[in-house]
């Protein structure tokens, strides 16, 4: 039996904040501000505070700070213990046993038990109440079968043998299962409260009956303003230094910046129009995301000719795009040129970036021209087809990116691409139904696992809208999925990515990577220890505090 002990969250949080503190948590911090009220903005409204239903960024961000799951995301992608104080796994990482801390309490003073977790998780996959994130439980034994109505709920591999033990059985070894447990879908819920509130659970109307397991609780939520206050029942309350958080939701970027400049808020998001203005100031922050943008090429679909079925044509496109221009001249927010699909913020082995081995494809016009010529000959075309259309985003920066790509392909290959920027729902529908030739798209990971990127292009994956099918690629991924040794798994995934985006050797250039995305913010220098994350919820306020300037 392989046992891995995780250090206790409190001890780790002291290391993370980089300062020691006495029981009241603030004595030793230099210039600790009297008023610990942090003011932030969110661009979108909260869809729901029901953790089982939440799938939008604002809801997930608030939930991450008012609730706590088994594990929590700390600084620099490090997992710290949440309600779980210890976890044991078997050797092939298919059984996880979580020991819950006995001092964990809901904000109403009642204990948080393993049953609260089992209840919420099973609720997320209830076939009668399908949820947006239910699919994320698929690694758990029979979760998918239960959500399809094939087996009963007691067959699902989630067990709570007693109040402080939660056992989870997985279908396959999963090296990164702990990263999953930081997500809102894996938060605990109190059964009696959920059942009492019915459809009002997690809405504004049901707010009085909510209880919280995390560092903060929601005091009010009205008129686009959410106020959080410190949860005095939280198990790790000495680590929480903020007394109050004001969150202004549904805020436009220019308005957020006006408020920031009049000192009404402490941090806000930037877009491309403002990045340049603030980039040189000490307030500027760029956060690397676990998200890549790429061009989807229509490779295999039943109807119509498929220009991009030709591998040489795809390779030519792949080599003819100068990603430097896209990342550094257009996005400017810290986004990086992408020569692969898996972003650098995801880990390969241990805490090392997946991209440690470098990029797969590089800008090379002369090679691109060669492949282009070869491809056209194979297709018996004398020149590039005239009606190649690319579906692009309708947001300003990404539309500019599409225009730059169009210009590069025209200049480097003589290919004239027509651009179309429909509303998002139409954009998605066209890609899903194969009603496109080239389509810009992004993929973001919810948790730290490169497989969640690469598996979407397996032949039978629902998200494989390119119609890409490669037996070797499928095999490599299946092997990687059942590999419990991370180093071996990383090798398999590296080979798979080479097939997916590569131009050399077995490379198929099935998709054309563009950039690894980042988000840009401005934040007052008096805000300390506010951790922003690459995947899952965007930030953690547990350790944040304010100092006097």
């Amino acid at each position: 039996m392989f046992t891995r002990k995780f250090c206790i969250g409190l001890a780790l949080s002291i290391v993370l904040t980089g300062c020691s503190f006495s029981s009241n948590g603030k004595a030793d911090i230099k210039g600790f501000a009297e008023n610990q009220t942090l003011r932030l903005t969110e661009q979108k409204n909260i869809a729901t505070l029901d953790s089982v239903k939440a799938s939008d960024s604002t809801s997930m961000n608030v939930l991450n700070n008012v609730q706590e799951g088994l594990m929590r995301m700390g600084k620099d992608k490090k997992l710290v213990n949440g309600i779980a104080e210890d976890v044991e796994t078997n050797k092939d990482k298919t059984n996880y046993t979580f020991k819950l801390r006995k001092d964990a309490k809901w904000s109403d003073g009642t204990p948080i038990t393993a049953h609260d977790f089992a209840y919420a998780w099973k609720r997320a996959i209830n076939p009668k109440e399908p949820t947006d994130y239910g699919y994320i439980f698929a690694p758990i034994v029979n979760a998918e079968n239960y959500s399809n109505g094939k087996v009963s709920v007691d067959k699902v591999g989630i067990m709570a043998p007693n109040d402080h033990t939660l056992q989870v059985k997985l279908v396959k070894p999963q090296n990164n299962f702990l990263s999953l447990t930081t997500l809102p879908a894996f938060l605990p819920q109190k059964k009696d409260l959920v059942e009492k509130a019915k459809t009002k659970y997690g809405t504004v109307e049901g707010l009085q009956n909510m209880v919280y397991s995390g560092p903060f609780k929601v005091d009010s939520w009205a008129n686009n303003k959410v106020v959080l206050s410190k949860n005095e029942e939280y198990w790790d309350r000495p680590a929480v230094k903020l007394e109050k958080v004001e969150l202004y939701i549904g805020m436009d970027i220019p308005t957020g910046i006006n408020l920031y400049n009049t000192d009404r808020i402490d941090a806000t998001a930037l877009d491309q129009a403002y990045v340049e203005v603030y980039k040189q100031t000490p307030d500027f922050i760029s956060v690397e995301l676990a998200s890549s943008n790429y061009i989807l090429l229509r490779i295999n679909h039943k109807e119509g000719e498929a220009f991009f079925k030709n591998t040489n044509i795809r390779k030519a496109i792949n080599l003819a795009i100068d990603r430097d221009v896209l990342a550094n001249k257009i996005m400017k927010d810290g986004s990086k040129p992408a020569g692969g699909f898996v972003p650098p913020s995801l880990n390969g082995v241990g805490n090392e970036s997946f991209r440690k081995h470098g990029e797969v494809v590089k800008y090379d016009v002369s090679k691109a021209k060669e492949y282009w010529k070869k491809g056209l000959e194979e297709l018996k075309l004398s020149s590039a087809p005239e009606e190649i259309q690319m579906i692009s985003y309708n947001s300003t920066a990404k539309r500019d990116m599409a225009v730059a790509i169009k210009e590069q392909l025209r200049r480097n290959l003589g290919l004239n691409v027509l651009l179309d920027a429909p509303p998002w729902s139409v954009h998605l529908q066209n890609l899903r139904e194969g009603n496109y030739q080239m389509g810009m798209l992004g993929w973001g990971a919810d948790y730290n696992d490169p497989i969640s990127f690469l598996e979407i292009f397996q032949s039978d994956a629902g998200m494989n809208w390119a119609g890409f099918s490669n037996a070797e690629y499928d095999k490599l991924l299946e092997q990687a999925k059942s590999e419990s040794n991370q180093a071996k798994q990383y090798e398999l995934l590296k080979q798979a990515e080479q097939i997916l985006v590569g131009t050399e050797g077995k490379g198929q250039s099935a998709i054309i990577p563009l950039i690894y995305a980042s988000n840009a913010y401005i934040q007052k220098p008096h805000v300390k220890e506010l951790y922003r994350h690459a995947y899952g919820p965007e930030y953690s306020l547990k350790w944040a505090y304010l100092v006097n300037e």
Binding site: N45, A47, Y135, T199, E205, T255, S425
Partner: protein
């Protein structure tokens, strides 16, 4: 008068039914679905969710369900805000939009009326020219340009008023002012044109010849007649302004209902689209009804012809 009122009321109901029906079918022609996290949803789960919301039913069945709810006053729950009643969302946001808009209409009408009167009475002078200039600005500068300029100069640069957010009375001044300019422009133009016409009428000469004081001539005889077109336009104008402006509410981060008009369509939030359209229609139809009654009070000739119908 009662018969006339009842007849108008029944027209209102029919109008609303037609609007609701047309909106329902038009919105189902929109491509896409109201689902969130759509790019990641596996196909079978998408199906389950569509099934749960009854979106897989044939359109006529969906229409009957929708109408059934509507008759009972149930607008349904929003798709973008899980489980929240559309009526609750409108009820929360409308007072804010109505306050900002109402203030803009009152301020705009008073200033517009004064400007129009002065321009008509002082025809051809610099005052007339100034009023024309204000009207041209009011019509041609979009409220969001004015709003953004106000926010930057008055809010950020000079720090006189709060730059955004809904916190005190002061928060309402800039947004109301930005919305009021167009009201000023429209009302002052209408009043001026009508006043000029009325002041030249034969009965004005009679009134003056009778030796009535100038005040009585202008306010009792001239203005009363000149008000009718302004009131006609004021009704729909008020509804437009108090139901909120997406852009002004975004610039000043106000929690109004303006955004629902646009975002519900972008997100395919079916219940919100129908809810907000019906809410807007009820307001418009009611205002038209009130304006009809007002005519009768201002001009008894209209009431008489109405009663004869």
């Amino acid at each position: 008068m009662l018969k006339y009122t009842l007849k108008r009321l029944s027209y209102m109901v029919v109008t609303l039914w037609i609007i609701a029906t047309v909106t329902f079918f038009l919105m189902h022609l929109l491509p896409g679905t109201p689902l969130k996290n759509e790019e990641k949803l596996p196909e079978h789960i998408k199906e389950q969710i569509m099934e749960k919301y009854g979106l897989n039913d044939p359109l006529p069945v969906q229409y009957l369900n929708f109408m059934g709810g509507l008759v009972q006053g149930d607008l349904g729950a929003s798709y973008t805000q899980d489980g929240r009643e559309v009526s609750g969302m409108i009820a929360e946001g409308f007072p804010v939009s109505a306050f900002i808009g109402g203030q803009a209409v009152v301020f705009g009408s008073i200033v517009g009326l004064l400007l129009g009167l002065i321009a008509a009475l002082k025809r051809g002078t610099w005052m007339d020219n100034l009023s024309t200039m204000i009207a041209v600005f009011g019509i041609s500068i979009p409220n969001f340009v004015l709003g953004a300029l106000l926010a930057y100069f008055v809010g950020v640069k000079w720090g006189i008023l709060p730059v955004a957010l809904w916190e005190s009375y002061a928060s309402s001044i800039m947004p109301s002012f930005a919305l009021a300019l167009v009201v000023v422009a429209i009302i002052s133009r209408y009043i001026r044109t009508e006043m000029v016409e009325v002041l030249d009428a034969e009965y004005m000469k009679t009134a003056k010849a009778k030796g009535l004081p100038r005040r009585t001539v202008v306010f009792r005889h001239a203005l009363r007649n000149a008000l009718i077109p302004a009131i006609t336009i004021l009704g729909p104008l008020t509804v437009n302004i108090i139901t909120g402006s997406l852009v002004i509410e975004q610039i000043f981060a106000l929690p109004g209902i303006g955004e629902y008009f646009v975002k519900s369509i972008v997100n395919n939030d079916y219940t919100m689209i129908t809810g907000i359209t019906i809410f807007y229609s009820i307001l418009i139809v009611s205002v038209i009804f009130i304006v009809d009654i007002l005519y009768g009070i201002i001009d008894p000739r209209i009431r008489l012809s109405g009663a004869k119908e």
